[in-house]
Symmetry: C2
Subunit: 357 residues, 2 copies
Amino acid sequence: MSKQILVLPGDGIGPEIMAEAVKVLNLANDKYALGFELSFDDLGGAAIDRYGVPLADETLARARAADAVLLGAVGGPKWDTIDPAIRPERGLLKIRSQLGLFGNLRPAILYPQLAEASSLKPEVVAGLDILIVRELTGGIYFGQPRESKVLENGERMAYDTLPYSESEIRRIAKVGFDMARVRGKKLCSVDKANVLASSQLWRAVVEEVAKDYPDVELSHMYVDNAAMQLVRAPKQFDVMVTDNMFGDILSDEASMLTGSIGMLPSASLDANNKGMYEPCHGSAPDIAGKGIANPLATILSVSMMLRYSFGQVAAADAIEKAVSLVLDQGLRTGDIWSEGKTKVGTAAMGDAVVEAL
Amino acid sequence: MSKQILVLPGDGIGPEIMAEAVKVLNLANDKYALGFELSFDDLGGAAIDRYGVPLADETLARARAADAVLLGAVGGPKWDTIDPAIRPERGLLKIRSQLGLFGNLRPAILYPQLAEASSLKPEVVAGLDILIVRELTGGIYFGQPRESKVLENGERMAYDTLPYSESEIRRIAKVGFDMARVRGKKLCSVDKANVLASSQLWRAVVEEVAKDYPDVELSHMYVDNAAMQLVRAPKQFDVMVTDNMFGDILSDEASMLTGSIGMLPSASLDANNKGMYEPCHGSAPDIAGKGIANPLATILSVSMMLRYSFGQVAAADAIEKAVSLVLDQGLRTGDIWSEGKTKVGTAAMGDAVVEAL
Ligand SMILES: CC(C)[C@H](C(=O)O)[C@@H](O)C(=O)O
Ligand SMILES: CC(C)[C@H](C(=O)O)[C@@H](O)C(=O)O
């Protein structure tokens, strides 16, 4: 039975890094007889250029029909001055929302080979392995009403709404607990319950869900303290679960603790583990087209896809091992390069992973 | 002409650290003939115990009448299960809002004597000196409507509102530009304009205000990227200006970069530079009553008060110098202690600053 993978390279370095990920995916497909069929389409700026909108209806339909989506990155200065309603990011937000991809998994792992890259002291981050579970289809990102208007006194004002329902909180809390259960059995729920009404409900519902997970140790932390603790002692965390906006901020902070955001993949899952997979980093327009971007986060996103959406553990493990091997060989793209290592470009890095696999 | 200072020690370690700050303030008062008259009252948990509410009307009236307010810290486990409407934090939010203290200045400075305390590599943080300007009386902290309710289908839901008006943004942007002008002439405005309507207005108004400050270099950064850049390369920043919630998160992250949050003061100013001054850290209930808390952030808050509300630059400088001197002498409270230094308690540290002054 064949499986459909929709590939959306996107903008900036997206097409370059995706080309390498597709090489790896094709090889894994053959080697492990995965029966994947790949098709390609555009999202973000590339879709604006081609369809006039950042996510065309036909692309969305193909994404719905697919078994998984692999995404590069979206956005760039070319589309910065465009009508906000059709900015590249709108395509990303729409596909997340329309596919119901509420569960965003963002690991922050420090690769021992890249320990030097972190701006933190080695003893603070050595062995770091955090998983941030971010709610991705609710909260202030999608809350209605939101509006920009002119008041009677002639002054402009604008507002957004941050809503959460019990069921939205419950399902993401479950993802958090399920992940903690198969990892270090510690879940930290992050909110701002001393100020926000939505956070008070968040905390209450997380407490209720906790009853079904007596084997997982639950703690609560205010978001300001969490931002501090990630800097002070990040290894205290195993799994963190939080809302859309806090997750956006904390997952970027956490990924930067590793110093090598070019290495970090992410998964966005729906209720049936159908997912979209993408690197944590952005489209890096400044280095686009130069063939120097790091394809490893995208390659590792392929591995996450095999693991979470298709249960292909052997193939997923093999890709991760291949990535570890090329790092052992001393190969580095510019973003993770250090004295004494071999600097390689995007394609050479992709080829090395293919070779190792 | 006498000046009225209202002192609110608050909860937890508040009374201990405030006792030391008051020693220093009294000495400065005499030495520089400042003509301050001090009075004392309660805020937060202490006010709940005494008045039944975290900010009594009479306390608020005294704060209004005062020329400046000096605050310790509020909150603690004793009041954690209390009705959310009268939690200790509500007192803090109410006094900020009622006094119109919209401009929150939070410096993150690395003291050269404490360089070791940071979890970041010395070369990343040496000489760090960032000022975060946080909007403190608007945004999602105070936005209406906010509600927790049960939907028709029986599900609970809750929401908050994040509003900003042009005038609210304009006045805090001005504070940011004014501060940048007398510092490194670089202002970074942090928002989430790729997602939030309120952030789009924020960015537009900051751009307008920028026209009056051609000598200040303005940049914009998304909040997720700012959280990352603070970890990666914090010295790229001079002054950052941002909204209430983002400022809460980023100022805590930034202060932890120094590794010595027990050293950091803050100011909250109204339109006429009347202000409330408090340490950046919390009430640390776990070490309350033990006489080991670090009083230096509160002592430095006195210095900020002299500088910003009263223009007493000589006295403010003298207090900062005295603090630097006791650090040079090797005196350290537990939170900033390291091998080879002399561990002292709260009172001994306060006495040492008095001595140095
Ligand atoms: C591009 C932007 C809309 C997006 C977000 O805020 O979710 C990005 O920062 C991310 O984290 O995937
Ligand atoms: C105690 C809390 C309400 C407060 C805030 O969120 O503003 C605190 O975290 C702060 O930053 O002063």
